[in-house]
Amino acid sequence: MGRDIAVLVKASLNPEIVRQVSEGIYDIDYTPLKISDVDRNALEEAARLKGILGGKVYSITVLTWGPSKARDKDLKLAVQEALAKVADEAYVVVDDNVIPGDPIVTSNAIVGVLKSKGLKPTLILAGEASVDESTSQVPGRVAAKLGYSYVGYVRRVLEVREGSVVVERDVEEYVETLEAPLPAVLSVTQEINEPRPPTLIQIRMASRKPLYTLKLSDIGLDVKPKRLIRDMRVITVFRKQVLVEEASMEKAVEKLLEYLEREGVLRV
């Protein structure tokens, strides 16, 4: 059985920074990229499981949003975090021909990296959903292409056995315990662990680890995105944003109650 772990790390658009260009049109160029939140949980889990499996850890990232020149700094920061946290090496696919990417390009590129570099991880860890697209499909696609077993929404990895992994999977009304044969792809939820930021020493070490930047042609791939984005609009809900700031709590309460009385929402 192999002992390596691959972690899928997305440099997502940061949903906390949403601005309009004009009349509701979303300003995608203004939004910086950051590591997708749940991928931090995947990295933390990889750090724990590396201690059990003892193999190498590599991170794989496919740049989805461009132009690549403008995204270079953010992308590096996300990948550096993976390297600092746990990865021994990082693979990054950057190709302006497939930007903006879609899940078809992304999953093919991830599989292309593994195949062309001869990497055979026994576990592939991913997040349950990216914070920009939230489609929860890239991990399943990768599993199908590789013929790995797949479990999505993993809340706990209970045990790694010789040839299988035992996990808890979160479904809407229940939690299942499952045994999946290795090699496997797991997408993890936020609840799986509490990600700790990398330490200063880890951050310093990260710059010495190998980072491979690849184009689609380097991994022998010729795919095109199939999605055509027509329109992106900021959802604007008007909120009054009245601030109540009082040294006296009594006064603050009175003010709030006055406002709510005026809104007619207290006597329901």
């Binding site: 658009l13 949903p15 906390e16 979303y26 939004t31 879609d102 899940p103 078809i104 999953s107 959903a129 914070v131 920009d132 697209e133 939230s134 489609t135 929860s136 499909q137 399943g140 696609r141 599993a143 199908a144 479990v151 999505g152 929404y153 979160d170 479904v171 009304e173 229940y174 299942e176 315990t177 499952l178 045994e179 939820t189 199939k226 999605r227 055509l228 984005i229 329109d231 992106m232 609009r233 900021v234 959802i235 809900v237 909120r239 009054k240 944003q241 009245v242 109540v244 700031e245 709590m249 009594e250 603050a252 709030l256 109650l257 406002y259 709510l260 809104e263 929402v265 207290l266 329901v268």
Partner: protein, 305 residues
């Protein structure tokens, strides 16, 4: 041309059949609850293939074999975890587009045109993808189809599965319908212990409110039942009044409360993002503010508690 409908619950079948009709002749694949209550699903008059399982892998294998034999233009289904996990495998092995949480869809000739949330639902995206395509939709985006006779039911056998089930545990649920409440108090990590939530419950009593919370409060800390978390991966609420207490205002939480008429935020950090997304923001320590708010309301509504 066929349109394959994946039904997980009898309650989703009517809407999905209605949607599928816009693209082709609906054929249903009944899974999980819809497989055990197949008569309710067959009542729409379409042929029903049944896979008696609740495993995504079984649904994947069944959908794959139906895809090969029926050649559908579109596969529609609900945006649930089991269906997403199954169709992600299908989309990957066929390399076809898959879109989820779709709120609008229409036939654009050689492409599917659709609308869905983006950026943790702060932005809407309109896009198109070529057929064949998998489209998982949100509930209640169309009126359900009329029932029409009884369709034929055919059982599918999917053979051995790779992933084995060891056990299932029901989640602790409150059964409270936050979606229907007129007033909701939302609790966040500003509360320091489960016991302290009684401050929110006391306020709720006076306001005839229900108590919900952020995902970490319910799913991580388990201070509230698992059906009481509000947001992109939890409940969407539309109360007259939403009072968020000790909640920072992350986009994944706020997307669940955007339909509220009035939003109040109580947070001790003046720079908390929630203040930009609230009608009334109170900069205060919840431990000092809530007891006084509750006691003032008690004076105002002496009959209530």
């Amino acid at each position: 041309m066929k349109a394959l409908v994946i039904s997980q619950r009898p309650s989703d079948a009517g809407e999905l059949v209605a949607l599928a009709k816009g693209f082709g002749e609906p054929v249903i694949l009944a899974f999980q609850e819809s497989a055990s209550k197949v008569d309710e699903v067959a009542a729409y008059g379409c042929r029903v293939y049944r896979v008696r399982s609740d495993r995504p892998e079984a649904l994947y294998k069944a959908a794959f074999s139906l895809y090969e034999s029926l050649n559908p233009k579109i596969i529609v289904g609900p945006s649930t975890k089991n269906v997403k996990d199954a169709t992600a495998l299908l989309a990957g092995s066929l390399d076809i587009p898959m879109v989820t949480e779709v709120v609008e869809l229409s036939d654009g000739g050689s492409v599917l045109t659709y609308k869905r949330g983006f950026m943790s639902e702060r932005v809407t995206m309109k896009a198109e993808v070529p057929y064949p395509v998998i489209a998982l939709v949100n509930p209640k985006i169309v009126e359900p189809a009329e029932k029409a006779g009884r369709g034929e039911v055919i059982d599918l056998n999917v053979g051995e599965l790779k992933v084995n089930i060891v056990g299932v545990r029901a989640k602790e649920l409150s059964g409270v319908k936050l979606e229907e409440a007129e007033v909701v108090i939302g609790v966040g990590r500003g509360f320091k212990s489960k016991e302290d939530l009684k401050l929110a419950f006391e306020l709720a009593k006076i306001l005839n409110a229900q108590v919900g919370g952020t995902r970490p409060i319910a799913a991580d800390l388990k201070w509230l039942p698992e059906d009481a978390w509000i947001g992109i991966s939890g409940k969407k609420i539309t109360p007259k009044l939403y009072i968020a207490v000790g909640v920072s205002g992350a986009p994944q939480h706020m997307s669940g409360v955007s339909g509220s008429k009035v939003i109040v935020a109580v947070n001790k950090d003046k720079s908390a993002p929630i203040f930009k997304q609230a009608d009334y923001g109170v900069v205060a320590d919840l431990y000092k503010f809530l007891p006084i708010l509750t006691s003032k309301l008690r004076e105002k509504f002496p009959g209530r508690a």
